[in-house]
Assembly symmetry: C2
Homo-oligomer: 415 residues x 2
């Protein structure tokens, strides 16, 4: 079963927004055994949308379209789809009620005609109710293919995918069994890793594909198996992983789940009833922000001091000025003092601290661009590691964040 | 002049990574007057890549391909492109030298054959040197069309676009003049805004397009004009904006530049020689992280206390416990105390503080999900505003961050 995704909007093609919807939709489809053949981003233009619908219909059974459903003139998706199916627009009572409810509760302004028009849908479409906005999702079937139109606003689209589209696809089709397993490794580059496991890779059965996903100090190995024979997928995947593991023993960190490392740490800390705080210099609050992105973070995350300026390390974190003078602000003693004092300040079980130079220029210290120290403090000890993380600012910050999470996770798992 | 972007990689189609490259490339092309007709994400598959190259060649003059250039077996872009042009792969001395340099300086391991093979390029290709990685960019011309192949790693691709591709395109072609102007508004929804400016919109000349870009409490109006007549674009754009502004006077915030609001604030603070810090609860360090993402942030950003737990507000920010008990942790007096104490702690000119409930559940307070208080502290005064930011966690956080930046910018511009 194959799908295609069409994202509509000039704002994508002029680079004003990044299309994050496609990745979300692809992941959701893959999980239920639907492969995505292609993702196409097209203009708000009747001819272009029509052409992409035709092409997608040739390759795919399921066509998901996002965007172009707003109330304004530049959004023409609904009319184009309606013409594509030689259908007419009719008002949907349920959608109009939803729009009225939103306007009454949140907008608190009178409904304009353009909003009332959002309740118009093609007569053959099944409406998918949008609980976060006024533009409805639509499900249309034609010649054994399914066309699904969703609003482009990410959180509206996500809720519709989860609550409506996926359950309805499961009801409509029988899907092959699909299984992705991702092995997280670090410490060996992509090419060295590929060389090491070449023989194993060459002997993989044809229904299992391998991909290398390198990034910021890690290489993820993704195995994807797909077959209607669930048993075959399960046994073969298991035996292939069993054969691989001894070959990557020294660099294998764990299996990757859908959860980010910070979400996994959050669950581990919650289960252990432990808490964490951070003292961030070069990572500038990114670690705190990633922890607090997850609902329920208040159970284990107490807070952070982002001590970006050297004075802040002295004034807020009580790092002794003499220590900074003796070792420089980017040093093991300073990062360890940051972690120790942060842990005391926030009264947590663990503290993470970072200091380094993310570039592009040398900052308050003599440290080379890319030099980062990361410390972990616990009740019993404080320790740190030094890393050289390259010469690209964003990359240095993100690598440091990843390393910090890895160090903390190792520490937690020791217990 | 039209371009197409083809991004290659199964990891995009299974949703493991978000394709951010296309937005970057689109923006860079649009700036020099090249429209992007379509963005297509395809599989690591010879037939599929070949098909997409053929289709792109029909619509576009410039075809930019990213991804699939790694050293491993699943990366087949280079061989496919080589076959497409009926060319052969030959070793490039310059690329091999670069690879040797990277291995010697950073990797510190012996070169494997797969790495040496990365120096192979189609004989007709002009090599674009990659200063951050081993995979070279390639520039090929055929039948008056240009094909550019770039690595998929975002920071490698970005550097190649800026240093090689854009300058070389400018040398090769004469581009039409293009101008985008984005007007930032807040306080009125997309549909109400559209109704208000309907007559003006209907009378826009055909070479100026208008788009509504709603998001997180703001609506951006983007005007795009394109013509070989630079003078026409300039005068008509100016007169259209002049006609529009009085109609949106009450909701117009400013013109949007390529810079994010936090980068603009950073420049304004640097020019004024002023500093800022933050005390963040519900925004969890996101404001600090956005400030410190920008190089040079240490000039104006001193630090942050992320006081996620109530105890942290008391222990680290010295908010009186009695104040919290009297008003609740999500309240104007508490957020103002947070801002005031943060400003004193970090010795800055300005402080931003946030407290609120981002959901999904009620936290340490009785505040409704979506209720957020934001305070600004200056030398002379502290004040706060209350916002209701909806029922979606990520949305609440990002809206609060936007509001905080808007409040700070207003305060700075008062001076």
């Amino acid at each position: 079963m194959q799908a295609e995704i069409i994202t509509i909007g000039d704002e994508i093609l002029i680079g004003q927004i990044v299309d994050t919807n496609s990745a979300f939709i692809s992941k959701a489809l893959n999980k239920i055994g639907v492969s995505v053949y292609q993702i196409t981003s097209v203009q708000d233009d009747i001819a272009h949308i029509t052409k992409s619908l035709k092409e997608a219909e040739e390759n795919a059974d399921i066509i998901i379209i996002t965007g172009g459903l707003g109330p304004t003139k530049d959004d023409i998706t609904k009319r184009t789809i309606c013409d594509y199916f030689q259908d007419t627009l009719v008002p949907s009572e349920a959608v109009l009620d939803n729009i009225k409810h939103i306007w009454k509760t949140y907008i608190k302004k009178p409904l304009a005609q353009v909003n009332i028009d959002q309740a118009l849908v093609p007569s053959k479409a099944k409406v998918l109710m949008n609980k976060y906005g006024s533009a409805p999702g639509m499900w249309m079937e034609s010649n054994g293919k399914v066309f699904i139109s969703l609003p482009g606003v990410p959180y509206e689209m996500k809720a519709l995918m989860e609550d409506e589209v996926i359950p309805k696809l499961r009801k409509t089709y029988q899907f092959p069994f699909i299984k992705h397993v991702t092995l997280l490794t670090y410490g060996l580059g992509e090419s060295n890793l590929a060389e090491r496991i070449e023989t194993w890779e060459d002997n993989l059965p044809s229904f299992i594909k391998l991909a290398y996903l390198p990034g910021l100090g890690r290489v993820r190995l993704r195995l994807s198996a797909k077959s209607f024979d669930k048993n075959l997928v399960e046994t073969e995947m298991e035996s292939q992983i069993k054969a691989l593991l001894p070959q990557i023993e020294d660099i294998f960190v764990g299996f990757e789940t859908d959860d980010s490392i910070e979400a996994i740490i959050g669950k581990q800390l919650t289960a252990l009833n432990k808490t964490v705080c951070t003292a961030e210099s070069c990572t500038g609050g990114k670690i705190a922000q990633l922890f607090t992105k997850n609902a329920g973070a208040s159970k284990y995350f107490k807070g952070s001091v982002v001590s970006y300026a050297t004075e802040a390390k002295i004034d807020v974190l009580q790092v002794p000025e003499a220590l900074i003078k003796a070792h420089s602000v980017v040093s093991a003693p300073v990062v360890e003092a940051m972690a120790k004092h942060a842990r005391e300040l926030f009264k947590t079980d663990y503290a993470i601290a970072t200091t380094g130079n993310a570039g592009p220029d040398k900052g308050d210290s003599d440290a080379e661009v890319g030099t980062v120290f990361i410390a972990i403090a616990t009740k019993d000890r404080v320790y740190s590691e030094k890393f050289e993380l390259g010469n690209h600012r964003t990359k240095v910050i993100m690598k440091a964040v990843n390393k910090a999470f890895e160090m903390l996770q190792k520490e937690i798992l020791k217990k």
